[in-house]
């Protein structure tokens, strides 16, 4: 188990360094940073002096080394556009995105899994069939379209819910939350459902397929033959076995929720990191782009590491040495 963890950690670090290389190459290849920083009237000499002072004439490996060591302590330099440190920018925007993604992820998992289980157990019931049909809509419609439809329906026609922004937020230290005010919660409803819908349907279909397979196995049949009650069979034996392969996919999907947030945030004018990222691309604000890239990859790698540990925890065949059966 220990060597497994060490191996996974080392792999994660390799992945992060690879992403850092890509992020760093943004500085080199997406326009000239000096050009982006200075005005039209700066002379060539002044430009050269600035270049020297900022270390841009150093060889590539040394620049990369500086980038990595700075990034490791959260220092991604200063935004070209906002002229304040990138880390401050991100810290300001992160709570909005994290709140939105986490709520969406929870919605996706806690609605998707029960729906999947339900449709697997009552395979040909009317409700299952309706779920399955609706889930096709969830999978096939693009996020932005669903968002716009929601805005049109609940914001414009019914006027029940706000259509943009976070509403009133409460600051707790550096963290700002919309969960403590009524308008904050109301503002969260539409974007989080929009963001969760795709993952929810995916998880539901995945759980359904996997569960149907598990329900056909011998040990489920044997559990029935022992007279166990339906609930004990379905939730005591089948569900846990269903979740093992599903965990991996859910882990990857939760990482994607973050990435999908960009679109949702744009549609709902949500003041999060996704919006920040889109604006940075428009303005070629390279430090922000690099920092965002690094952060997303860190979250992806982190979730995957967690999934691996969880996997080993849930499945005894991985942790306990199976050698005894070789006898």
């Amino acid at each position: 188990m220990f060597s497994f963890l060490v191996k996974r950690l080392l792999q994660s670090i390799v992945v992060l360094i690879a992403v850092a290389l890509i992020a760093f190459s943004l500085f080199k290849f997406v326009g000239d940073p000096i050009n982006n920083m200075v005005g039209q009237d700066t002379t060539l000499d002044e430009r050269e002096a600035l270049r020297e002072r900022l270390g841009l004439n150093d060889p590539f490996p040394i620049q990369f080394y500086h980038f990595i060591t700075d990034a490791a302590v959260g220092d991604f330099g200063i935004s070209y556009r906002h002229k304040i440190p990138v880390s401050d920018l991100i810290a300001e925007r992160a709570p909005a995105t994290l709140e939105l993604s986490i709520i969406s992820a929870l919605l996706a998992v806690f609605i998707g899994i029960p729906m999947g289980v339900y449709t697997a157990i009552h395979r040909s019931g009317f409700i299952s069939r309706s779920f399955m049909t609706l889930s096709l809509v969830g999978i096939s419609l693009p996020t932005f379209l669903i968002g716009i439809l929601f805005i049109f329906l609940f914001g414009v026609i019914l006027r029940w819910l706000p259509t943009f922004g976070r509403g009133e937020v409460v600051a707790i230290g550096w963290w700002t939350t919309g969960l403590l005010t009524w308008s904050g919660i109301k503002s969260l409803i539409l974007p989080s459902i929009t963001l969760a819908l795709f993952q929810m349907t995916l998880i539901m279909r995945l759980v359904r397929t996997e569960m149907l397979e598990v329900l056909c196995t011998d040990y489920i049949k044997f559990a029935r033959a022992r007279g166990l009650k339906e609930n004990a069979v379905n939730f005591g034996h089948a569900l846990k076995n269903t979740l093992i392969p599903v965990i991996t996919i859910i882990g990857l999907q939760l990482g994607l929720v973050m990435a999908f947030a960009i679109i949702t945030e744009t549609v709902f004018q949500w003041p999060g990191m996704g919006m920040l990222f889109i604006q940075s691309i428009e303005e070629v604000d390279v430090p922000v782009m690099a920092a965002y890239l690094m952060m997303i990859s860190l979250i992806f790698v982190g979730i995957n590491l967690l999934v691996d540990i969880l996997y080993a925890y849930v499945d005894p065949r991985l942790t306990i040495d199976g050698g005894s059966k070789h006898g």
Partner: protein
């Protein structure tokens, strides 16, 4: 009082093409303490009967007509909830494969306690105590410690014991065992059968034992019902049915079973079955392969040795570690020596894990031997690194695998499957020529011409194995390795395939290496035989010698486990032997 009786039940599976009737007008009964065997070949409907009694038929299957009575209660018309209450409490069930019958994510204890508490309401403590007693009864040593383990930490035989313990949790009065020993080794099979026999007598439990294996029927059942094609052929005392069968199907089925007691030239075919393929008497061998003669440019040794294996070893790494001293290895084959003469059939017999298939894989070059050498046609083929040179030898040596379902590519047509080796070794000059050869080969193995353009799933197991054999013969080998070629097949089909192999060997002067766990089959097929255990050859002798006068104690042990088909001297063993695999699994902790 009769424990269970079915009265004229019909079980059907509705489908788009109308009702498929799986069991037709079946009436059987079981008394307390009695073991009723249901025997038949695959597709006879025997498992469906068991599933129907315990009401676990796969939907949309259902009982169409007839009645099922448990003691004096009719049970086929009960509600779903009432049927559930019967399961486990009144009627228990044991399935075929102990590897898959237990929930892999729960400990044995969790599964036992859950079931015991449900049926007996003993509370947590009481259920635990009961679980320990049950495990002790089914012969699991050190139950207190062992029940904390997960299913994957038990060997196959031990797992089946756990399954039996689980089936006994609710103290049922009837147990339905569906092929309970088919997935187990002979020695383990014997222990499990003895255990079930003992439990039936001690607890006065009735049992329905569903199996395809006449040996198992002969060993433990009191009465037997023979099923064929969804109908009951015959029912009666086991001794009488096996010793003096009345129905022609039973007669021909019993005659097709390989006899352990004497060698016969050909197997009688089960003539009752409609689609038996008659051997191709009119096949003209001179036209086979378009009249070309075989490649005899490679000479066998002067003394006729075609294959010689010296000090062959194989080692698998079963656990990796950064430190060399911590790596674990399994020596699958240890210092094996033997030689095979041209034209003979050399048998290798042993239980699973004894290394017999590993030897076949090393001989064919699928595995690189860890040490030792394989000489074939006078050349050390295990040492050739040059691919074209090895191919010339590989062409002379082909293999037939155990499972006819997974050894044929389901997305390829039969003609492409059989032609593949021909194309690969460039043995035909044109597509038409290779097509002609494939047709020849299919005819040779007894397949009709229209098989040519079909896919494997359109054939039965026996027909697929014929296709496998045709494919193996496509390169015109002189040496054929058969790895358990009939263990996945029904008895009647097995007889056909074994006859085919015998015929082919005579006509084509093939040398065969025949691997099997089935001693009667070995006796019918092989000239000489090697007995293997734990990667070593313990005894290597003439087949007749082995069966009449075995030397090594393990050979004697194996022979003693062979189910006797001699009905008259049938005796009943009620004592449970100390399980053999106890020691093994305990050691490895």
């Amino acid at each position: 009082m009769t424990l269970l009786a079915t009265k004229n039940i019909c079980i059907g599976f509705p489908s788009r093409h109308g009702m498929f009737v799986a069991v037709n007008d079946l009436s059987i009964s079981v008394e307390p303490g009695e073991i009723l065997g249901i025997v038949g070949e695959s597709g006879a409907g025997k498992s469906t009967v068991g599933n129907a009694i315990i009401s676990l038929l796969q939907p949309p299957g259902k009982v169409i007509s007839g009645e099922v009575w448990f003691k004096d209660q009719r049970i086929d018309n009960l509600s779903t909830e009432q049927k559930r209450r019967l399961r486990g409490k009144k009627i228990g069930m044991i399935f075929q494969d102990p590897q898959t019958s237990l929930d892999p994510l729960k400990t044995i204890k969790q599964q036992l306690v859950e079931t015991i508490d449900l049926h007996l309401r003993l509370g947590r403590k009481g259920s635990e105590q009961r679980a320990i007693e049950l495990l002790e009864q089914v012969g699991i040593p050190d139950p207190k410690l062992r029940m904390l383990h997960y299913p994957h930490q038990f060997s196959g035989g031990m797992r089946q014991r756990v399954v039996i313990a689980l089936a006994l949790c609710g103290e049922p009065e009837l147990i339905i065992a569906d092929e309970p020993t088919t997935a187990l080794d002979v020695s383990v099979q014997k222990q499990i059968l003895d255990l079930m026999r003992k439990l039936c007598i001690e607890k006065n439990v009735g049992m329905i034992l569903v199996t395809h294996d006449m040996g198992v029927i002969a060993e433990v059942t009191d009465r037997v019902a023979v099923m064929y094609n969804s109908k009951l052929m015959e029912i009666g005392d086991t001794q009488q049915i096996l010793g003096n069968p009345q129905h022609p199907y039973t007669q021909s089925l019993i005659s097709a079973i390989p006899r352990p007691d004497k060698r016969i030239e050909r197997f009688p075919l089960v003539t009752y079955i409609e689609d038996v393929i008659e051997p191709q008497d009119d096949f003209d061998l001179s036209s086979h392969w378009l009249g070309q003669s075989r490649d005899f440019s490679m000479q066998v040794d002067d003394d006729g040795t075609i294959l010689q294996v010296q000090d062959l070893c194989m080692r698998f790494q079963i656990s990796n570690s950064m430190f060399k001293s911590k790596r674990l290895y399994l020596d699958a084959v240890k210092q094996v020596n033997f030689s095979i003469k041209e034209g003979e059939t050399f048998g290798i017999v042993g239980e699973s894990g004894s290394g017999k298939s590993t030897i076949a894989r090393m001989v064919t070059g699928l595995y690189q031997p860890y040490s030792g050498s394989v000489h074939f046609l006078g050349k050390e083929i295990s040492a050739i690194n040059h691919t074209p040179e090895v191919l010339a030898y590989r062409r002379q040596m082909q293999m037939v695998f155990q499972d006819p379902f997974s050894s044929l590519n389901g997305r390829m047509r039969v003609m492409d499957i059989v032609a593949e080796p021909i194309m690969f070794h460039k043995l035909a000059t044109s597509r038409e020529e290779s097509q002609q050869i494939v047709l020849d080969l299919l005819k040779l193995v007894g397949m009709s011409d229209d098989a040519y353009a079909k896919y494997p799933h359109q054939f039965s197991g026996g027909q697929r194995q014929r296709i496998s054999i045709a494919r193996a013969l496509a390169t015109r080998p002189r040496f054929l390795i058969c790895d358990e070629p009939t263990s996945a097949l029904d008895v009647s089909v097995q007889a056909q395939i074994l006859n085919l192999l015998k015929d082919l060997q005579q006509e084509l002067n093939l040398t065969m290496m025949f691997i099997s766990h089935d001693l009667p089959v070995i006796r019918q097929m092989c000239d000489r035989v090697a007995v293997m255990q734990h990667g070593q050859i313990l005894e290597l002798t003439e087949t007749e010698q082995l069966f009449t006068d075995p030397q090594h104690s393990y050979s004697k042990h194996l022979l003693s486990l062979m189910p006797k088909l001699d009905m008259l001297t049938k005796r009943r063993q009620t004592t449970v032997q100390q399980p053999m695999d106890t020691q093994l699994s305990a050691n490895s902790f």
